[in-house]
Every structure is written in structure tokens, then in C-alpha cells.
């Protein structure tokens, strides 16, 4: 019975949704200080290639590869974040988009290391590694009524779900704190924020770097879930896809990017039966949404509405709208 429920195809879509949530957060966090960054695809590629190459050539455990990939992306994030501080809005978007393209072109041309546009295959797979480790302890997925490949995807899905929930929790708490207020103040009025004693250099670079870390982390995971990466995975299209998650879902509250990533990853799969028309519908929906709700689908008002509904139902004062968007 379990076996039918855990179709590897659905589980894989689930994994992509969770990776996309992390990527959407990597746009949301810099944007919460007003920095519109399109560098996520580039940082994602950095994380993916770093982790893939380290695990293949040096036989390092996947965990070490992922940590290294995340940190490299974060480090480059600081280096990019510092000189682009003065840029605002669309100028920053252009520079970060250019950065992503530079990274991609480096991947294509540094053939001795990256294997060029052919890409890297045979990257250690997280699920298989988990299964191998557990089998070492005498565990057998058949005892749960699952086949090996079902267990592989189920384990990745559960792992990513825990990570995604942790990250949403992390950035939600950060939002409701001194750091979050500093971010919001910078987004609303940089000069006034500076006059109120906020070190805008520090907080802008911090937010940009947090975005880079998130994208680098998502990229490393991506490499170890697909087991194959190529420069095309981190192109301009990826950058725009990630941006659209956040813009479509809404960038005012953290549930916006989460919802955007879930919905827009799901949609093309659900619409598979109309094959090539599905991307037309996808495009049309985004155009309509931008015309009707430029702030994105989920905004502060919706969250407050959900909160008040919950409160009147249960008579409690807490709640976050998590039911709707998770």
C-alpha cells in the first residue's frame, strides 16, 4: 500500500519543489533589504560544481561537499556584495545577471576541470548514499514495504522537507527581530535607516551573502539529487525562474516565495496533459498576476486575514498562515 503512495515520480517532483523553495528564499532574503539580485543561478552553479567536483575527485563525503559548496557560494557572495552595494534596483539586477552568465561561461570553457558544456555525470547521489549507509547497519527497505528506488527518493524528500522547514523557520524568526527590522528599514528608506544608526553596508552585504549561501546550498543539493549537472542548468533561464517564484508568490512575507515555488513547480507537471500549451498558460498567468497583483499573490493583508480567521476559529492569538502555504 505504501508502495503505491510513494511513486518515485511524485517524490522527485516533491524534491524539486523543496529545492525551488530554498532557491526562492535566496531571492527573497536580499530583496527584503531592497536588493534585487539575479545571481541565484550563478551561486547555485558554484555550489553544485564545487560539491560535485570535491565528491568525485577527492572522494569526500557528500555532507562535506555540500558544506564546501555552500561556503564557496557565500564567500563569492561577500566579494560580489561589497562592490555592488551602491547599485539599486534594476542596475543591481543587471550586474548580478551578468555575474551569473560569467560563472556559466567559466563552467563551459574551463574544460579540464568542468568537462565543458558536456557537464559532469556520476555525481554521488544523496539517496543512494543514505541507503548504502543504512544497509551497512542491516536495514532493508523491503521491511517497510518499499522498493530501493522508492526509499531513495523518500529519504531525500524527508531530508529536504526538514531542511526547508528549518530555513523558513530561521528566516521568519530573523524577520521578527532586530536584524529583520534593520532589513525592512533599509528596504523602505536607506538614508533614514542610516540616520537611525543602522550600518547599511553590514546589513546589505549580510542579506546578499545569506542569499548566496542559500543558493549555493540549493545548488549542491541539486547536484547530488540529479547526479548530473551541466552549465545549461545554471543559465539565464534558471535565474529568471527563481526570480519569478518570488515575484509571483510575493516578496512581502516569507510565505510568498514558498507558495510561488510550490505552485509554479507543480503547475507544469499538472498541466502535462496539454503538453506544449502548458508554458503558454504559465506565461499568461504571470502576466495576469502582474497586472492585477503586482505585489505577488501572498501579501501582508492575506496573511493578516488568515491569522484573523484562525483566531476567530480557535480563539488563539498566534499563528502564521502556515497551513495555507506549507
Amino acid at each position: 500500500m505504501l508502495a503505491e503512495l510513494f511513486n518515485p515520480y511524485y517524490l522527485q517532483i516533491g524534491c524539486f519543489i523543496l529545492i525551488n523553495i530554498i532557491l526562492a528564499l535566496s531571492v527573497y532574503v536580499p530583496l527584503s533589504t531592497g536588493q534585487l539580485s539575479l545571481a541565484s543561478a550563478g551561486f547555485m552553479g558554484l555550489g553544485a560544481y564545487t560539491s560535485a567536483l570535491l565528491t568525485i575527485h577527492f572522494d569526500l563525503p557528500i555532507l562535506v561537499g555540500i558544506i564546501a559548496g555552500t561556503l564557496i557560494a557565500g564567500l563569492i557572495g561577500i566579494l560580489i556584495g561589497l562592490p555592488t552595494l551602491r547599485l539599486q534596483g534594476v542596475y543591481l539586477a543587471i550586474v548580478t545577471l551578468g555575474f551569473g552568465e560569467v560563472i556559466r561561461v567559466v563552467f563551459i570553457n574551463w574544460e579540464s576541470l568542468t568537462n565543458g558544456s558536456v557537464g559532469i555525470s556520476g555525481i554521488p547521489h544523496i539517496g543512494r548514499e543514505i541507503l548504502k549507509t543504512l544497509k551497512g547497519f542491516g536495514f532493508n527497505p523491503q521491511s517497510m514495504g518499499l522498493q530501493n528506488n522508492q526509499f531513495i527518493f523518500l529519504s531525500i524528500f524527508v531530508l529536504l522537507l526538514i531542511i526547508a522547514i528549518f530555513l523558513v523557520w530561521f528566516f521568519r524568526r530573523q524577520h521578527y527581530s532586530r536584524v529583520g527590522r534593520a532589513y525592512a528599514a533599509i528596504k523602505l528608506d536607506e538614508k533614514a535607516a542610516e540616520s537611525m544608526g543602522i550600518n547599511i553596508t553590514y546589513y546589505k552585504v549580510l542579506a546578499f551573502t545569506q542569499g548566496a549561501l542559500l543558493a549555493g546550498f540549493a545548488g549542491s543539493i541539486y547536484a547530488h539529487v540529479l547526479a548530473y549537472i551541466s552549465p545549461a542548468d545554471f543559465s539565464y533561464h534558471r535565474a529568471v525562474d527563481i526570480l519569478v517564484f518570488t515575484v509571483f508568490g510575493g516578496s512581502e512575507v516569507i510565505w510568498g516565495p514558498v507558495f510561488g515555488a510550490i505552485f509554479l513547480t507543480f503547475l507544469p507537471e499538472v498541466l502535462r496533459f496539454i503538453s506544449e500549451y502548458r508554458y503558454m498558460i504559465y506565461g499568461l498567468m504571470i502576466i495576469i498576476l502582474m497586472a492585477v497583483r503586482p505585489q505577488g499573490l501572498i501579501d501582508v493583508n492575506i496573511i493578516n486575514w488568515i491569522k484573523s480567521k484562525k483566531r476567530s476559529k480557535r480563539g488563539v492569538t498566534h499563528g502564521s498562515g502556515s497551513e495555507k502555504s506549507m
Binding site: F170, R173, Q174, S177, R178, V179, G180, R181, A182, A184, A185, L188, D189, K191, A192, A193, E194, S195, M196, G197, I198, N199, I200, L206
Partner: protein, 257 residues
Amino acid sequence: MVLEVKKACKNFGGLAAVSDVSFSIRKGEIFGLIGPNGAGKTTMFNLITSMFPLTTGEIVFQGDNINGLKPNKITEKGICRTFQNIRLFPLMSAEENVMVGVHSRSKSGVLSSVFRTKSQRKEEAAIRKRAKELLEFVGLDDFADITAENLAYGQQRRLEIARAMASDPQLLLLDEPAAGMNETETSELFQLIKKIQTLGITVLLIEHDMPLVMNLCDRIAVLNFGKKIAEGTPEEIQNNPAVIEAYLGSEEEEEYA
């Protein structure tokens, strides 16, 4: 002396917005900075708060030269300001605006904020309490949850004062706090600034409302075309021929008119 401005000059290209201005402010006084439009008053504020660098000259705050410090460091040192064209954080509530003001007097970082350590929770509670006190101080305690952009104009001006006071300044710079206020609001503002003075906070005030300035200020400096043309008590300023000429034009000119 709380603040000493020594031969401050600021050029924008060929335009001397402020040239060779010196004045000093004693602890606890309310010091007025007046002058016709475009005289360089707001530029002076921007120089004191390091929004612009000085071209030449020196600004000394409580014995320390503060030239070239970043604006956020100036706030940490104890100077905070309001803006002529209100610059609140429009989408935040009144309370959150004031809470942002406490930023330089608190220190929780990312990790302590996320994991809500004991010291962070204590600090957050203290920030909230301070914000409540200040909202009460400026008479906005009933509007704590209202979004700043939805407040009335006079309330926004008072909220800006509360936000600036949240950084516990030694010197508070008010840029035309009475602009656009009606008579009742102006007299409330008068009481408020007097109350700020009793807290031991020194106030530097730019204002066009002459009755308010003359009643409120202990001493006044007058700028015209970027130069200081007079300094003294309100009585001295009112009788100073150079000031009268700057505001009303000289008698000879009137003959032509």
C-alpha cells in the same frame, strides 16, 4: 560645549552651499538655526550627521572630531535627527518605527535573534518597553499599531521625533518640525520640545515659524546664502539689522519697489 562647528564649508561643484560657518551649542540649550529658503540650513544638518562630507572645516561633538564618520556612527555617538520631508518607514507600524530607532543601542545578531537566547529576549522586551515609553512621551500611545503612512501629518512629525529619541541622543536635530502644522499642533510641539529639554537633551532646531523659534530657543544663529550673518539671543536677533535685511530686504530696495 556639546557641539562645535568650526569654519564649516561645503561646495557643490561651484556652489558654496555653506561657507565658513562657525557656531557652538552649549549643553542643555535649545539652539535655533534660521534663515531664508536655500540659506544652507538643511545642508548644515547633513554635514553634522555626515550625510555629506565637509569640504573644509571641522565639527567637534563632545570633544571628539566627528568628521568623516559614517552616519550610523554619528548616531551611535549621540546625534540623531528628523527630516524636513518626513522620512518614516511608511509600511511599518508606529511602534516598529521607534523600535528601529533603538537599533544603535541594542546588539542582537542573526544567531541570537533566530534562536532567541535569553539576552536577546530580554533586549527585545526592553526595546518594546522603550518604544512604548517614547510613543507615550510624544502622545502617540494610542497609535502604536497604526502603519506610519496612515498617521496624520502632525502625528508623523511627532513619530519622527520619537524615533530619533529612541537612539538616546545627547543632541537632537529637528528639521522644521512645525512645518505644515496648525496652531494647536504647533503649541503642542512647543510643549514637547520644552519637555525634551528637561530630559537634558540638547536641541538644534531649524524652523520657519518665527513665533515658535523666538519663544523656544535660548540662542539663534542666522544663515543667509550659506554664511552666518548673526548669532545671539532671540531679542538680539530680532533687532539685528542684518537679519531684518535678509528677511525683509533693505530700505533702499524698498524705495525702488
